[in-house]
């Protein structure tokens, strides 16, 4: 994997919301062809990191690069290369599905000659055929989620950043979406957050576990289980071990970049106030 092109590069990101420190120096790399699961309790800093990577907000310190472009110095170029599905699906309720996707494709710079094909393709892969002519506020939650996903990939971006892409879907839809993400992940980079641990196991090549604004584990499953034998090769146990408030001090895990192990020591209290919406 180390030979593949680095598509996301995050170094020592910190973020303060007023007095509250949401990120305490996060660093990781993601490569082309990887599907990386971004895991952690609510309020750990997953959405904050994603918002910084997608140029929605700025980090307090540290750097983030997407496709080797810095998110602060050339934000427009970064934004042209990513597809983003925020946690709260951003839809214009009064629009027809096709018009919505067409509008987003246009704003994302898909040339008009290719736009119809791009929208049709996104409709097809997200299974939106039956609702393409419907108004968005008539759709069920599952379809709304899929429209949100379709807008994120309509311009076939190099990097897809998905904040809880399968929330609110039924088991059949979840399996369809996973298939879709898996096929995209072959050529592109996918960074997704979820609370469904089983989803990480079947979908992701690698896990980045964050807690209290720091990376507490980063690696593929074999590496993680080898570093934490107490987890007994069980992701749920590993999650509890590393993120529960009474968890023992974790051993410094394998990291993408050479880092100081002391950074991974958990903060004083893990019961940090949640900055994300509390739904899980």
């Amino acid at each position: 994997m180390s030979k593949a092109e680095t598509t996301i590069e995050v170094r020592d990101l910190t973020k303060y919301y007023g007095d509250f420190q949401a990120l305490r120096g996060i660093s990781f790399d993601v490569h082309r062809g990887e599907i990386v699961g971004f895991l952690g309790p609510n309020g750990a800093g997953k959405s904050t990191t994603m918002k910084i990577l997608t140029c929605y907000m700025a980090a307090t310190t540290g750097t983030a690069k997407v496709m080797n472009i810095d998110v602060t110095t050339d934000s427009i170029a970064v934004r042209a290369r990513i597809g983003y599905l925020p946690e709260s699906v951003p839809l214009y309720d009064q629009m027809v599905v096709f018009d919505y996707l067409d509008h987003l494709a246009e704003l994302r710079g898909v040339p008009s000659s290719k736009r119809e094909a791009a929208v049709t393709h996104a409709v097809e892969v997200c299974g939106l055929g039956p609702v393409v002519a419907k108004k968005i506020d008539e759709l069920s939650k599952g379809y709304r989620q899929r429209v949100g996903l379709a807008q994120a990939l309509v311009h076939s971006p190099d990097v897809l950043i998905l904040d809880e892409p399968t929330s609110g879907l039924d088991p059949n839809q979840i399996i369809d979406i996973r298939e879709l993400i898996r096929s995209i992940g072959k050529e592109k980079t996918v960074l997704l957050s979820t609370h469904i641990l089983q989803e990480i196991e079947v979908l992701c090549d690698r896990v980045i576990l964050i807690n209290g604004g720091t990376v507490v584990a980063d690696g593929n499953f074999d590496e993680l289980y080898a570093a934490h034998p107490a987890a007994e090769r069980n992701l749920e146990k590993l999650f509890r071990l590393l993120t529960a408030s009474n968890a023992p001090t974790p051993v410094a895990p394998k990291a993408a970049a050479p880092v100081d192990a002391s950074k991974y020591l958990p903060p004083e209290s893990n019961a940090a106030p949640s900055t994300e919406s509390s739904e899980s």
């Binding site: 929605y56 042209a80 983003y84 710079g109 008009s112």
Partner: protein, 237 residues
């Protein structure tokens, strides 16, 4: 297509798929029509003109422009679509200008809908079109200033009710500054009269297009829209 036009087009279509646009048009036509016919049936007036309409219209515009602009950015924030808009390869200023152009187009449509009044006047007698064209141009300039202020206010809140009330307050203040200072002398009064929209509107509606008046409207629009763009990008600092 240019992203500005794409955003403007979406916004304009959205206002016509909701009831907002129709309510604004209907209310404006009702009030403008009332003003217009009162003048016609007023026995004292012997000449054909729309003077009453153009003297009262700036005041009503101070109500109607905020109704058009209130949702522009507030609604994007409430429905969380702003997060998407801010992560598209589009600059904040392009978003703001797109929104402003949509509102200005809607206002132009509303004003255009009152054109049957002067046309019907012209059919019954000899109408001097000069002041009427000047009046409409003046209303468009004035409306641009009000709408730009409305866009700025709309960027500051996610609540449309707050947006319309605060914008109304600002537009009303801009409109009445001049009258408050009209009987006083001195530098402060001069400055107040210059900041106020009313004097500039009177100049334009008399058919006098002075660069100072144009500069005035241009400055208000530019300052307000830049302000809105800064409000949107403050997250990224």
């Amino acid at each position: 297509m240019n992203p500005i036009l794409s955003i403007a087009k979406r916004e304009l279509r959205a206002s016509f798929t909701s009831v907002t646009a129709y309510i604004v048009i209907a209310l404006f036509l009702l009030i403008a029509g009332g003003l217009f016919w009162l003048e016609i049936f007023n026995a004292a007036s012997t000449e054909l003109s729309m003077r009453t309409f153009f003297t009262r219209a700036p005041f009503f515009l101070a109500f109607f422009a905020p109704a058009i602009s209130m949702g522009l950015l507030a609604e994007e924030q409430r429905s969380k679509t702003l997060e998407l808009l801010m992560t598209l390869p589009v600059t904040d200023m392009q978003v703001v200008i797109g929104k402003f152009l949509a509102a200005l187009t809607l206002l132009a449509i509303v004003l255009g809908a009152t054109l049957p009044y002067p046309i019907s006047l012209a059919s019954i007698g000899n109408l001097d079109w000069g002041p009427i064209i000047g009046g409409y141009v003046g209303l468009l300039f004035l409306g641009s200033a009000y709408l730009a202020v409305g866009v700025l206010v709309s960027s500051l809140t996610r609540d449309q009710m707050v947006a319309i009330l605060v914008s109304f307050f600002c537009c009303f203040l801009l409109n009445t500054f001049g009258e408050l200072a009209s009987h006083t002398e001195g530098t402060v009064a001069e400055v107040l009269r210059f900041i106020s929209t009313s004097g500039h509107f009177e100049n334009v509606s008399r058919g006098v297009i002075d660069t100072r008046d144009l500069l005035y409207y241009f400055t208000i629009v530019l300052l307000s829209l830049s302000g809105a763009s800064i409000v949107l990008s403050r997250r990224r600092w």
